[in-house]
């Protein structure tokens, strides 16, 4: 007898499992620098992150932290910028920087077999940057020209304007590195920032990948234990002393082109708010994934855009809700009114059981994708240490999402969305 395949019914789904984060080790170098280590992944690679509590919220002017981190790699006491790059190439290794609100990190990514040759290069960059003036001026000139190209993009202007109107152009969360700001950035301010924040007591090290623990600690001690302390001048985040100057309503910037970028939003809440994870579920329903209500309505039913997304973004001391997309000029007004309708719908009608189950499972499944590579794990450890949020606490996200109910979603939407107070930034051609 021929077996008839039932193609109409999905195969039986299995329950989704919580993939718990692994446990990392904490130890110290002889001078006290904390070292977090984790053996992870099957590839013969290792990433070493040297992290400083020197994030962008400490800088007096926008751009200082990032340009300092970048310029640390443009020459050291022993190597020119080119020599350093050639040394790294010789071993197929990279040093890159990342700057967040509360951290600045220099990351060495290398094949495990070359750790002994490449770790000293990270040490050079961290402990002995020469901050050459000529290279700094050149880099500024190049980036100024790149900024002028970016300034022609509606997406770039909308991002800038949204920050300015949401927080104020002087607020650490609202300011923007434009031409003027870059032109006035000085090498002195960068050196001063380095002096103020880049020292052992303000740092920790993360090592993730394939490596020998004892050997790694020995190498790190040899290199970094003589890294000498400087006078500690702790400063607090400039966000705490800045005042928010938030505006709402339509802010139009007339630009040539075939599409406009829209950014709609209002203030949200800080990262430590108890509703942080639950609001991620609410936001996902609205515009946080490919199958979201905004995408369905504005892309899949109307074809007004290639993509429209929303984010519920939390910084350390504040947060924003933002909806953004590049929209055909003639569809702008209709899109904005549909976005408002979708926000209202979430505040007025409970989310259907089917849709809620789908969104929860989507978020739970996505969890695995965020913990696959040693690089992702290194970032997670950094996040955990910088924000003092344990892996156990991060793992609880799974249960929080799993347990959320439709009436809670409704209550959260009513509590946190403010569709009548939206800032509406539109950069594009007014028809």
């Amino acid at each position: 007898m021929q077996y008839i395949l039932d193609r109409n019914t999905p195969p039986l789904a299995s329950p989704l499992n919580n993939i718990k984060l692994p446990t990392y080790q904490k130890s110290h170098l002889s001078n006290g620098i904390p070292v977090y280590t984790l053996t992870y992944g099957s590839a013969e690679v290792v990433q070493v992150q040297m992290v400083f509590k020197a994030g962008s919220s400490l800088q007096s002017k926008v751009g200082i932290a990032t340009y300092m981190a970048s310029h640390m790699q443009e020459g050291t006491q022993s190597y020119s910028s080119l020599q350093l790059a050639q040394k790294l190439d010789e071993f197929g290794a990279w040093i890159e920087h990342e700057v967040g609100e509360s951290y600045l990190s220099l990351n060495l990514t290398t094949l495990s077999t070359h750790i002994a040759q490449t770790l000293p290069l990270l040490h050079e960059v961290v402990c002995a940057p020469s901050f050459p003036e000529h290279e700094f001026d050149q880099m500024k000139a190049r980036n100024l020209q790149k900024l002028k190209v970016n300034a022609q993009k509606t997406s770039y202007q909308a991002r800038r304007d949204f920050g300015h109107y949401m927080y104020g152009a002087a607020h650490p969360y609202g300011r923007h590195l434009g031409e003027e700001e870059l032109a006035s950035l000085s090498l002195e301010s960068i050196k001063a920032y380095h002096h103020q924040y880049i020292y052992p007591e303000n740092s920790f090290i993360i090592v993730v990948g394939q490596f020998d623990q004892a050997e790694m600690m020995k190498e790190l001690n040899e290199l970094f234990s003589s890294y000498t302390a400087r006078s500690v001048t702790k400063e607090t985040s400039r966000v705490l002393t800045a005042s928010i100057k938030s505006q709402n309503g339509r802010r139009y910037k007339e630009m040539e082109g075939l599409q406009a970028t829209i950014r709609l939003g209002h203030l949200g809440f800080r990262r430590s708010h108890p509703d942080y994870y639950p609001m991620q579920v609410v936001n996902t329903i609205l515009g946080g994934y490919f199958g979201s209500r905004l995408m369905k309505n504005i892309r899949e039913e109307k074809g007004y855009t290639y993509g429209i997304y929303s984010g519920w973004i939390s910084y350390k001391y504040s947060g924003v809700f933002v909806v953004q997309g590049d929209i055909g000029n003639k569809y702008i007004e209709d899109t904005i009114s549909e976005v408002k309708k979708e926000i209202h719908r979430l505040m007025e009608e409970p989310v259907p059981a089917n849709e809620l189950e789908l969104v929860k499972n989507y978020l739970l499944g996505k969890n695995i994708n965020q913990r696959e590579t040693p690089f992702q794990l290194a970032d997670l450890i950094r996040f955990s240490v910088v924000n003092d949020i344990s892996f156990t606490e991060i793992d609880q996200k799974f249960d929080i999402i799993q347990g959320i109910k439709a009436d809670e979603i409704l209550a959260l939407a009513q509590k946190h969305f403010k569709p009548t107070q939206l800032l509406e930034v539109v950069c594009g051609k007014r028809l």
Binding site: F91, Q145, G303, T373
Partner: protein, 413 residues
Amino acid sequence: MSTIQYQTHTLDNGLKIIIHEDHSIPKAVVDILYKVGSKDEESHRTGFAHLFEHLMFEGSKHIPSYDQPLQRVGGENNAFTSSDITNYYLSLPSNQLETAFWLESDRMLELNFSQEKLDIQKRVVIEEFKQRYLNQPYGDAHLQLRNLHFQIHPYKWATIGKEISHIEEASLEEVKDFFFGYYAPNNATMVVAGDVEPDKVIQLAQKWFGAIPRRNLKKHALPQEPTQKEARSMTVYGEVPFEAVYKMYHVPAHSDRKYYITDIITDLLSNGKSSRLFQQMVIQKQVTPQVNAFSWGMHHPGAISIDGRVAQTKTIDIYEEALQEALDSLQALTEDELNRIKNKLEATFVMQKTTILNKAMGLAMCDSLGDIDLINKTPEIYHSIGLGEVKEAATTYLAPENCSTLYYLPKEK
């Protein structure tokens, strides 16, 4: 360097299956590559393969929505179209693997075609066309230059298409023809990778894909691009702040060993701070803030590109002179420099293999090039390239008469 292990199995209907096990996390990836791309389009219907990729997500014969059932079991998916292939990939928790087979087999079986869905996706693709190309400064540079660089080969047009009207005019009949002409088990490769058991994979493949009929493929011979004999150039004006210079050079097909030599040349030229174009043009002569060389990796004889913006204080002539000097300087290439770039490429290879998705895509891509084992052999190919070969290839392929240039200039105000 550890090699990537895999096994293959082909169903009676011609569907090739490649299985790679990696049990480090409970995740599975399914990647299906259809051997059809924009080079298979007709010249009055460009952009069609990519438009079709969008329609593949609009529901199939028995399943009204592709995305929702996948998201419901914690999965994610996407796809891309190139000149040569169309690639669909998804990842999901490994205990939900069968859902992927159910979804992918149904859309290989038959789509749920409708005029309304076609009309909406045309609009979406037109907005994509604007967002990624037409509404960006210099965004259409490659669209225009390809048309000059390739005189007759369908690489003339980009995957997004030659013009918006081609997308607007696509009909439902054409969509159906395209499906049955190219979307067939005997024109596809499926990679199943991650936390999977090979026996189970084969059993599932047989169950869900086994009954899909083999189809008559609409394969046609493509014209061979004639050898370029003299330098070509064109000038366009747009809403841009600075002059820019885009160059394309003819290079051999990806399957040719010489392709890899030209690829390593692009790395020598612009991969990182130590590269020749960066050191000579950006740092020493300051003729550009940004210059980039890269391979298009086409299956037929294709191209490498060298794109740069002219520094605000310099002229196009000075830029081009500096570029020519940098290209000429490849004749002074040293073993050390070549070895450094090889080491860098090898390391890049290892880093890319840290995700199951990258391994799955890599296997599918290598298979489409005619040899799955390229996934392991590629680093050796780069390693085997000698200094003399690089210098010779630089002379041959970077010659002015092998090059097409587009000058992108600010519109006169």
